[in-house]
Symmetry: C2
Subunit: 306 residues, 2 copies
């Protein structure tokens, strides 16, 4: 099975604490790495999880609060000290590109790789990355400042050939790629063999939505409907609903409601307030009442999305 994993490098809010690091995740899609947010300490967490700098080509920044960006200068400088080649594309709002570029131009003058800045406009929905097997698209989140979510979607996979039928109809090797992609086969005599006689359906394509930081908003449900695994911030327990609203965050109950209403198959909650010194079990408890397939993010956690 092709690799499609999310690595949790940090799932705390606001500041590093004894329990959690600031926000950072790494998607591993068939050994290409994609970082989402980059709180202070991301480079250290990246190495602790055994990830390779040379495979990291894209970094996606959801918004310009320090706990989501302060790890960038150190990460990029260390990647240069490790001799990373090629380009690293950073997808972020324009203010972030301006601020980061001023530091990198000064502190990382002798970079071994090129930094490319891809500017995201607040509120836009756009495919900001695409390769043969994957797309990444933005959608708006609703925080105190402009904030964007990201959806990682595996492209449709190839259909499975039915070996017996391929043999029966004597399909030549040169035609198999088109058949796997869904084409009917036309024999030299002009007869049409319907694709579904030759193949079985492909494995399902899976998808992952990153929703942090955001307050509860039904528009998020609409934008992520049909996604398999949802990461949604759950900074507070419902007992602090008014604090959540005031600060542009969500409760774990709200996160679970979003996952349920979007028809997700799994929910990961994170971006925990540091007030849950004894652990986030209360947040999990209220979430599973609404959406049973909820798990708590934690540093070092690696989850298969397939």
């Amino acid at each position: 099975m092709a690799k499609f994993q999310v690595n949790i490098l940090g799932c705390g809010s606001a500041t590093p604490s004894a329990r959690h690091q600031p926000s950072c995740q790494v998607i591993d899609f068939r050994d290409k790495l994609f970082m989402i947010d980059c709180g202070e300490g991301a480079q250290s967490a990246f190495r602790r999880m055994g990830l390779k700098f040379s495979r990291l080509g894209h970094i996606f920044i959801s918004h310009l609060h320090g706990d989501h960006v302060f790890g960038l200068p150190g990460l990029l400088s260390t990647m240069s000290l490790h001799g990373v080649q090629g380009t690293v594309t950073i997808h972020l709002f324009s203010d972030g590109a301006r601020l980061l570029k001023s530091w990198m131009d000064y502190f990382n003058r002798q970079s071994t790789f090129e930094i490319v800045y891809d500017i995201i406009e607040p509120g836009e929905r756009r495919v900001i990355y695409e390769d043969a097997g994957l797309t990444v698209e933005t959608f708006p989140l609703y925080h105190r400042i402009p904030c964007t979510g990201f959806i990682f979607r595996e492209k449709p996979k190839l259909r499975h050939l039915r070996g017996d039928m391929i043999k029966f109809y004597n399909i030549p090797v040169s035609a198999l790629k088109a058949v796997k992609e869904g084409a009917d086969y036309i024999t030299p005599e002009g007869a049409v063999i319907a694709n579904d006689r030759l193949t079985t359906p492909p494995d399902p394509s899976v998808s992952y939505a990153y929703c942090s930081d955001t307050m509860y908003d039904p528009r998020v449900v609409r934008d992520i409907t049909g996604v398999d695994t949802v990461y949604h911030e759950a900074t507070y327990h419902s007992s602090l609903l008014s604090t959540a609203v005031e600060r542009g965050h969500s409760t774990s109950l709200q996160a679970a409601t979003v996952a349920r209403d979007a028809g997700a198959s799994r929910l990961i909650i994170g971006h925990f307030s540091k007030r849950y010194l004894q652990g986030e079990q209360p947040l999990l408890d209220e979430a599973v009442e609404v959406f049973p397939s909820t798990i708590l993010a934690n540093e070092g956690l690696r989850i298969d999305l397939e």
Copy 2:
């Protein structure tokens, strides 16, 4: 005894590693805290050592390489989240002030305290901090880019009163402060009682020099002569002398030579290359041959300077 300690928060070079954090120290002088350099992760190390943000009023940055500054945005933001009041003065070169200010103006708009920038000129020797008990002065170091060292000097302390003589000469309480400061006492009859009949010498004042990053240079010896405890970088073992010279760093043998020639009583070595995966004992071994009172820096180490 009045508190005068150095806390080692990070003593590695270049990047965080499994062994070491980037450069950061905190001087605790009678419960006022002074940070020297601020590599990524400084705020976490600060809290792990049980230090209080509210007592940190001055930060001294030796030079503008990322491993000495990338912890500043996170530290200052977290201090604001903790509600620190008053001012925090950051002493650094002008480029650093410009770059840091642009980030803080954006990411820390609602700071609870004021950041004051004190600009150090490359090469200058200046007292950049002074209070009733302490001075901090700069002196040049010799690195690939402009770099400054810092000397923390306790001011002369008060002389000890000889209780028997104070009673014998019937010295009034109102005169004791001047006597402790070294004044003779003049009786109502006009007789002069020499101070050394009334007091014994004060406890010695101690001093601490921070020398990182720098290559070996006899001018450093001259500038720190007479200092009690010296922290000197020792990035490499002597077997890598040419690498040290090329990169503007020192070997542990050179660090020991500086401490010996400056007449120091103790040397702390740090800023270790990450190549010493098995520990820095080889660096210590060659240093003690030249200067026996050498110790290895390590994260979490707290040393009394008195």
